[in-house]
């Protein structure tokens, strides 16, 4: 079995995918309105149950939302999404390859209001998803 080639971000029981870090201009997408209270609740539960305060997002490998939705049709259940780049997130937080591709966890220093608010500032929110009826 090959040794891990890439540094681990998490010190937790969750397995990280052994893959190269994303480029700074890679797109991260989170389905929904990015309501702070909701995201905070998810980060708190993630911390309690999985051992780290994470916020889930998906990597749009081609840079196109329509391609990401084809790969992850669950995103089509949302009317809108929030979008950012890995580079923007990395100015404040770490990004870990967790779960099944294209899932990533944005790792907060703590599951607290200040961190979630700071994360929201890094996203462009209210981006329509394909088929939502408001994507032109």
């Amino acid at each position: 079995m090959a040794e891990r080639r890439w540094p681990k971000v998490l010190d937790a029981s969750v397995r990280e995918r052994d893959e190269p870090p994303l480029d700074d201009d890679a797109l991260l997408v989170r389905g929904g309105q990015f309501r702070v209270a909701h995201v905070l609740a998810r980060a708190e539960a993630c911390h309690r149950r999985l051992g780290f305060p994470g916020v889930s997002a998906a990597h749009a490998a081609t840079g196109l939302l329509i391609d990401l939705c084809e790969m992850s049709p669950r995103l089509l259940d949302y009317d809108e999404c929030a979008v950012t780049t890995v580079g923007r997130v990395r100015t404040r937080f770490e990004v870990a390859a967790t779960g099944a591709t294209p899932h990533f966890s944005i790792v907060l220093p703590a599951a607290d209001l200040a961190s979630v608010r700071a994360l929201r500032e890094l996203f462009e929110v209210g981006v329509p998803l394909p088929g939502s009826g408001s994507d032109g």
């Binding site: 389905g31 929904g32 309501r35 998810r42 998906a58 899932h103």
Partner: protein
């Protein structure tokens, strides 16, 4: 109608199953291994799912049928967390 379990559809595990936590469970009697449940994200549509894993740490893995939308199920945020 409330779902049997809330979840964040953005979050999936290593097998691509949607992740929910113990505190997300509304109807505990329905959330049993192999059982069918209604799962909803407060910001998305509800679906039926099969419970494929319940870990000792309180993590529930759900195999969601994205093609289904249960009758009378919540459409989203009115009952949000």
């Amino acid at each position: 109608m409330t779902p049997d379990v809330w979840a964040d559809f953005n979050q999936v595990d290593d097998d691509g199953h949607v992740v929910a936590y113990l505190e997300d469970i509304v109807h505990a009697e329905r959330v049993v291994l192999g059982g069918a449940v209604v799962v909803a994200d407060p910001e998305a549509k509800a679906h039926t799912a099969v419970v494929v894993g319940i870990s000792p740490a309180g993590v529930v893995a759900l195999d969601v049928d994205w093609a289904t939308q249960p009758t009378g199920s919540p459409a989203g945020s009115t009952t949000a967390v």
